[in-house]
């Protein structure tokens, strides 16, 4: 692919700049990046297949663990699809609670990202600041759901825990603190010269490229593409809440930072509205154990972008097929584009700027190289014949045994 004179350096799977095991093979000419090969798959656990072997209720908890940062996103997305197939009318209170948890999750994820971005550009003070403030949200999430991450809040047909008056008060108190801190971060992001100088012009992705490469979430919104599932195709309680879709036209890492910190303010607004209008009523409707035959696609705006789940049921208590398209898979192509002709030193922050979550994204990769060209698809009969031959070559012959078995069956 590249000239042999070029320098190729492997980054990962274990590397101080990477928080997750993924492999990058970077072709360099001097300091300039000529091309990047991204090797996914270190985190592949086979969740989609495992989901087919577990019941729907078990799947909620399994799919929640697709990603430990946007766990509520994945479980809500899955549950929405199952509810659509089963034709369940979820109580409005449950939808509101889902929305509140979703926005709290967005706050914790964006604050986390801000810290990681600060760390990647050598601004560790920002990491310590934003992670300290993140603990405020974590406390709230732990108080409502009982766990800091992987909340276990969703169930088919509603939510499992209620938000009481005391918790509402606590959330509002926490939001006041966070709002004040976020104003400070907006100030830092928009006025601090070191941040602006380091981030602007890095990792440029034009509007056309966003549309061509199908980037999602803050990565797309930072290039002026108004793409947000919460507004475009409202789920949960978003249709009844008013908020702005934040966009920016810097089209670089700086723009992505601005979009994320401004989105924090919108999240506070959404939570305030949802808590104010939280309707009374039951938390769940009774869901059948066996989900009727059908299929559904569900969309959800995770903190990193659009998350898509496809569920196909076959009338039993286990799904026939579950397909997960996490936002990072949509964005990872854009990274390759953003890195081309950039300096190697920009790589950590450009990769971090899409807020990658490789545990969401990882899947099996079948490598087709030149020496694998003879690989062919064979049918069952050929495979059966081949296995008999293979065992014969190993010195194991089943012919006698088979004959005996046949005779016995006949007899």
């Amino acid at each position: 692919m590249h000239d042999s004179k070029d320098f190729k350096i492997p980054i990962g799977p274990q590397h101080p700049a990477l928080k997750e095991p993924e492999g990058f093979s970077v072709a360099l000419k001097g300091e300039k990046i000529l091309g990047v090969d991204i090797r996914l798959g270190y985190n592949h656990r086979g969740i989609e297949k495992a989901a087919e072997e577990r019941t729907y209720v078990q799947d909620i908890y399994l799919i929640e663990r697709v990603c430990g940062i946007c766990s509520h996103s994945h479980s809500t997305c899955f549950v929405q699809a199952v509810e659509e197939i089963a034709g369940l009318a979820v109580p409005i209170r449950a939808l509101y609670i889902r929305t509140i948890i979703a926005e709290l999750e967005r706050i914790h994820s964006h604050l986390l990202w801000l810290g990681v971005a600060g760390h990647e550009i050598g601004f560790d003070t920002l990491l310590m600041y934003s992670w300290r403030d993140r603990e405020v949200v974590m406390d709230i999430l732990a108080a409502i759901t009982g766990n800091r991450v992987n909340y276990g809040m969703n169930t088919i047909g509603g939510v499992r825990r209620d938000i009481d008056a005391q918790q509402t008060e606590d959330i509002l108190k926490a939001l006041t603190i966070l709002e004040e801190r976020t104003k400070y971060y907006i100030e830092v992001a928009t006025q601090e010269t070191t941040i602006i100088k380091r981030l602007s012009g890095v990792g440029i992705l034009s509007r056309e490229d966003v549309l061509r490469l199908d980037a999602v979430g803050p990565t797309a919104r930072a290039s002026g593409v108004k793409r947000d599932v919460r507004a475009d195709d409202p789920y949960a309680a978003y249709a009844e809440l008013s908020f702005k879709v934040i966009t920016d036209d810097h089209a670089d890492v700086y723009g992505r930072t601005v979009v994320r910190v401004k989105e924090l303010m919108e999240s506070y607004k959404i939570i305030r509205q949802a808590l104010k209008n939280l309707p009374a009523g039951p938390l769940t409707v009774r869901a059948p154990r066996k989900i009727p035959v059908g299929e559904a696609i569900s969309r959800y705006e995770a903190p990193r972008g659009e998350d898509v789940h496809y569920v196909k049921s076959n009338g039993t208590e286990k799904p026939e097929r579950v397909k997960i398209r996490a936002p990072t898979l949509a964005n990872v192509q854009a990274v390759k584009h953003m890195l081309r002709d950039r300096y190697l030193a920009d790589m950590p922050i450009v990769v971090a700027a899409i807020d990658p979550c490789f545990s969401c994204t990882d899947r099996m990769v079948a490598l087709k190289e030149e020496d694998c060209a003879r690989a062919k698809i064979i049918n069952w009969q050929t495979l059966h014949a081949f296995s008999i031959e293979w065992y014969k070559q190993q010195g194991i012959d089943f012919t006698e045994l088979n004959k005996k078995l046949q005779d016995k069956l006949k007899g």
Binding site: P13, Q14, H15, P16, K19, E20, P21, G41, Y42, N43, H44, R45, G46, I47, K49, A50, E53, Y61, L62, R65, V66, C67, G68, I69, S71, L112, G115, L127, M128, W131, R132, R134, E135, M138, N147, R148, V149, N150, C357, S359, M364
Partner: protein, 152 residues
Amino acid sequence: MSLTKKIVTWARIKSPWILHFNTGACNACDIELIAALTPRYDLERFGVILKGTPRHADILVCSGPVTKQIEDRLRRIYEQMPEPKFVVALGTCACSGGVFDGCYNVDSGIDKVIPVSAYIPGCPASPKALIDGVAKLLTSLEEKEETKKSGR
């Protein structure tokens, strides 16, 4: 025990440097590990510093059920660490496979691949549990040294 060895042991217990390696985790434990290093929990007060390379690390903190793809890398990283080395399995997945037990691509636990000194369960293991686990590991090292001493 010679004086140098005494000093080395003392230094080792006072400043355990850790290497974090994600062996196929869902990120939750990894984020909680970073959270343990930030101001609220501040694991650094025990002298714990997160290092970037196995050659500088005393303790390998692994999170995740060990996928087939990462298995060889995990072994290689363990071999690169200088003696004496300790492995901490962080989270239920790393201890036993957790929800991923039985998946076609996972090994169900760090101890299937390399020896483990401490198990910290939880999904995800909270920073408090992590601090408790690390503190217990360090105390056990101290005790081990002391029993060795009294034995002589």
